[in-house]
Subunit: 124 residues, 2 copies
């Protein structure tokens, strides 16, 4: 999404990093695997992205006390600030797309894409 990338460029993050922040803001601290799935990222990609984002101070990483294999990930206030600063612009961009397509087309698109989703229980 060019307009999304453009919006995020001055925050210095990518679309994928934006999705990670959004998921963390919505669901709170969570394990790498959960986060990867929710942000539609492959596990190895998330590993690298998380390290990058930790270096940028956008998230913190820690091991789960009960299961030290589990990497727990948490958003920082600096990461949350990006969400707070950009959330409205992101909503506007989505609204624009919706408007360009028209409501009916937009909803039809979401329905059809859901049919193609491999995680969907439609027996694909």
């Amino acid at each position: 999404m060019p307009p999304i990338r453009e919006m995020l460029a001055d925050a210095g993050i990518t679309e994928q990093q934006w999705r990670v922040l959004r998921v963390l803001a919505e669901y709170g601290p969570q394990s790498s695997s959960t986060l990867a799935s929710r942000a539609s990222l492959l596990f190895p990609s998330l590993t690298r992205i998380a390290q990058t984002m930790q270096n940028k101070g956008l998230i913190t990483l820690s091991r789960d006390a009960d299961d030290r294999r589990r990497q727990m990930i948490c958003i920082t206030s600096s990461g949350q600030k990006i969400i707070d600063d950009k959330a409205n612009q992101a909503l506007e961009i989505v609204a624009d797309v919706k408007h360009r397509l028209g409501k009916d087309n937009y909803e039809a698109l979401l329905d059809i894409l859901a049919l193609l989703d491999p995680d969907n229980p439609e027996g694909n």
Copy 2:
């Protein structure tokens, strides 16, 4: 497309390389920029992909005599063989997707996606 990648894996090529071969087979020899556009690849990506494919013997590269800036690209018989060997399987995979969605959904999807295409003259 996991099923497409799986099909191409034993031919030793990627989805992008497959698209390059398909475009060359359909339109014949052409310049890098034309090929990139038709194969939905960014120019810098095509540059690298073309070098890889030349090393594999799937395509040949040469300079246009009239304009030596222009990189002309041509499929080899070895490249054409991959097309010949896999074209039917590829059609089956597409037919499967079409069948999973149903004809109406499939056509609706193509129409809606065309609306989102930045190259489309719909005044987006």
